[in-house]
């Protein structure tokens, strides 16, 4: 006869009602004596600030009509992007979602690229063809998303699979929203990855909302990380507003995955502090909920931590901020001056340049693909 599972009886707190109770208690093991050096700790700070400041600038450009279409803010979630990407090794592959600008910064994308991209310039990574954070190739350690949510989970499983075949010892990391964990692709990707124990880390950014839909209308679970139980894989929950906790949790998850214990499903609890995209003022978010999370701004928290633990003094942080601002100004100027793409370029590159498969044979020596 049916047993009732752990979560079946509990009701998810309705939105707004108990914003605080839903906030995870800091798991003891996620607050390690950080192994990061001072310069690394300040690195994280710089990325957090850069992330926030670039997005603020994009938002201004949007209001000026220079950025069109969807513009998605990661305000309040920067610690997840930055902390997780910072935990990766060089050979690892990261697939950002639309709120992971910070992760791309950490992995080496220059601010100018975001401006070029959003302003649809010729020299932009997508040559003006695609929008948002849909850029960066495998040569740079990225797989860019498409808009269709969930699709990256199978795709990154394939990256992890190939990485293993090629003996690269890599971990594939991607993000997914609370809402997108309802997609079929989330399930198919994790099904595939789990039976082969692929080195994949899936980080759920539970920012409490999917557009206007609260998590409670998406799932009965309190912890979306519990979805791991459907695959028999390791799971974890982390405070998504604590950059060090995210870094630590991702490091351990990546470790597990690299050692063949993957895939790992990690959930970072956080809050989307702006609307779904620029046009949305998020009127549906209860005031109380917003206020609660405002106090937990990840950058503020981290500043407090740095100052409180004596890692840095106020002045150092201000200097970092100024440097970020200067870089952004310079990069934005470049992007503003850049030309728009040639109109007819939009029909190019549908296919690879013509190749003759039989001719290709000789030149194209099979690349070694080591089997693990």
């Amino acid at each position: 006869m049916p047993r009732t599972s752990r979560n079946a009886a509990k009701k998810h707190p309705r939105k707004g009602k108990s914003a605080e109770s839903a906030h995870p208690k800091r798991p003891a093991e996620s607050l390690p004596a950080s192994a990061l050096s001072k310069s690394q700790l300040l690195d994280l700070y710089r990325y957090l600030k850069l992330n926030r400041m670039i997005e603020e600038r994009l938002s201004a450009l949007y209001r000026q009509g220079k950025v069109q279409g969807g513009l998605y803010s990661s305000k309040g979630q920067e610690a997840i992007s930055v902390g997780s990407a910072y935990a990766l090794a060089t050979q690892d592959v990261l697939a950002p979602m639309i709120r992971n600008l910070g992760a791309m910064l950490v992995r080496g994308v220059n601010p100018v690229e975001f401006f070029l991209q959003y302003m649809q310039k010729e020299g932009s990574p997508c040559k003006g063809r695609d929008t948002s954070l849909h850029f960066g190739g495998i040569d740079r350690g990225f797989v860019p998303p498409i808009s269709h949510l969930g699709t990256l989970i199978p795709v990154l499983s394939g990256v992890a699979l190939a990485g293993r075949m090629q003996g690269k010892n890599l971990v594939a990391l991607t993000y997914i929203g609370d809402g997108a964990t309802s997609t079929g692709d989330f399930h198919e990707g994790l099904s595939l990855a789990s039976v082969r124990r692929l080195p994949l880390v899936v980080l759920i950014e539970n920012n409490r909302w999917a557009y206007s839909t609260p998590v409670s209308a998406q799932s009965l679970l309190l912890d979306l990380a519990d979805k791991a139980r459907a695959y028999g894989i390791p799971q974890g929950v982390v405070d998504g507003n604590d950059v060090l906790a995210v870094h630590e949790a991702t490091s351990r998850a990546a470790d597990l995955a690299r050692r063949g214990q993957g895939p790992v499903l990690l959930e970072a609890k956080t809050m989307r502090m702006r609307g779904h995209s620029e046009h949305d003022d998020a009127w549906y978010v209860p005031e109380e909920e917003r206020r609660f999370w405002e106090k937990r701004d990840p950058i503020l928290l981290y500043e407090k931590h740095l100052l409180g633990t004596g890692v840095a003094i106020k002045d150092e942080l201000s200097r970092i901020e100024s440097a970020c601002a200067a870089q952004i100004d310079a990069d934005l100027a470049i992007a503003e001056a850049a030309p728009f793409p040639r109109p007819e370029s939009c029909v190019e590159d549908i296919y690879a340049p013509e190749q003759d498969a039989s001719e290709g044979l000789a030149e194209e020596a099979p690349r070694a693909a080591r089997r693990s």
Binding site: T183, Y211, T213, F340, P343
Partner: protein
């Protein structure tokens, strides 16, 4: 007749009136309730009809369409929204294999409507601008409609909801709030029959066959040609499946020169099907090759510079028309 309203408002009214008329009608989709839909098509519906008939779902298009199918089998009349029609790709299997084939397989009609914003022109990029019609036009058992006017937007959503078979209702987001097509609609209940094209303009020298937002470019081009003494006929298909073959045949026989204009990409677009129909039904009446003006074979680009190049417009229509006229 009331005040002139937008195309979007016409859809909203059509949905609203059908929900009032028939308790079997209900809606499901992402953010359609509390938020009223990404484009506000269902604003106010939750308050009026309650959360049992306006259902905010998880992000699961295949699940949404599957649930709509199941409910329709039970005698309900579900209307499923795709937040952008691009995401219908995730429900492709449920639509083409479950919904489209049930009646034929064992006699069970699946009266569902799947609607959502389609088309380009709003800088949405490759995943928020698609024209997915042909994937469904090629699937027997479905119906596909694509209104290009405010009157039709309302009349076709009503017809779609009352239809006994699954209907894909493509609303063009470029038209949603376009002042130019605002229109005062009849106070009384009306439907636009599925399967019937509309002659937007009568003429004798050339026929433009089109639908959706492209109709405007055809009308503009026709206007210009008119000043040059060329009389154009503009046929708005409105329904893409089943096609109004009689109307296509009639206009071909009348003018002998046919230009087909669609926003969808060229290869495998509906222009091919229409060309084949014309060959079969009116070959001897042709005074020149059936000619296509379409988007090129590429995804819809994001940048304004690119998208303007990509999409058909009245200049391209004019150019093609002149070429055909001088054949």
């Amino acid at each position: 007749m009331g005040e002139p309203i937008t195309y979007l408002e016409a859809i909203r009214q059509g949905l609203w009136e059908e929900m009032e008329r028939d308790e079997r009608v209900f809606m499901l989709g992402e953010d359609i309730g509390v938020y009223g839909g990404a484009f506000k098509v269902t604003k106010g519906f939750l308050e009026k009809f309650g959360q049992d008939r306006i259902i905010d779902t998880p992000i699961a298009e295949s699940g949404i369409v599957g649930a709509a199918i199941g409910a329709s089998l039970m005698g309900m009349r579900p209307v499923a929204e795709m937040q952008f029609i691009d995401f219908i790709a995730c429900a492709f299997n449920q639509i083409t294999n479950f919904a489209a084939k049930s009646r034929w397989r064992y006699g069970a009609g699946v009266p569902i409507v799947i609607r959502g914003p389609s088309g380009g022109g709003v800088r949405g990029g490759p995943f928020h601008s698609q024209n997915p019609e042909m994937y469904y036009v090629h699937t027997p058992g479905l119906k596909v409609v694509a209104p290009g006017t405010t009157y039709d937007a309302k009349g076709l959503i009503k017809a779609a909801i009352r239809d006994e078979d699954p209907v894909i209702y493509l609303e063009h987001k470029y038209l949603y709030r376009l002042p130019r097509i605002k229109e005062a609609l009849p106070e009384e209940d009306y439907v636009v029959p599925i399967g019937k094209a509309a002659l937007r303009r009568e003429g004798k020298d050339i026929s433009m066959i089109t639908y959706g937002a492209m109709q405007l470019h055809c009308m503009d081009a026709a206007e210009t040609l008119d000043k040059e003494g060329v009389s154009s006929e503009v046929l708005d298909l409105r329904t893409l499946l089943p096609l109004d073959a009689e109307a296509i045949e009639a206009t071909t026989k009348k003018t002998g020169k046919v230009l087909i204009v669609h926003e969808d990409t060229r290869t495998g677009g509906i222009a091919g099907e229409i060309t084949a129909l014309i060959n079969e039904r009116a070959f001897e009446f042709l005074d020149g090759p059936v000619t296509r003006v379409t988007s090129p074979d590429a995804p819809v680009p994001y940048s304004a510079a690119l998208e303007d190049y990509f999409l058909p417009n009245s200049t391209k229509v004019l150019q093609a028309a002149r070429g055909l006229l001088s054949y």
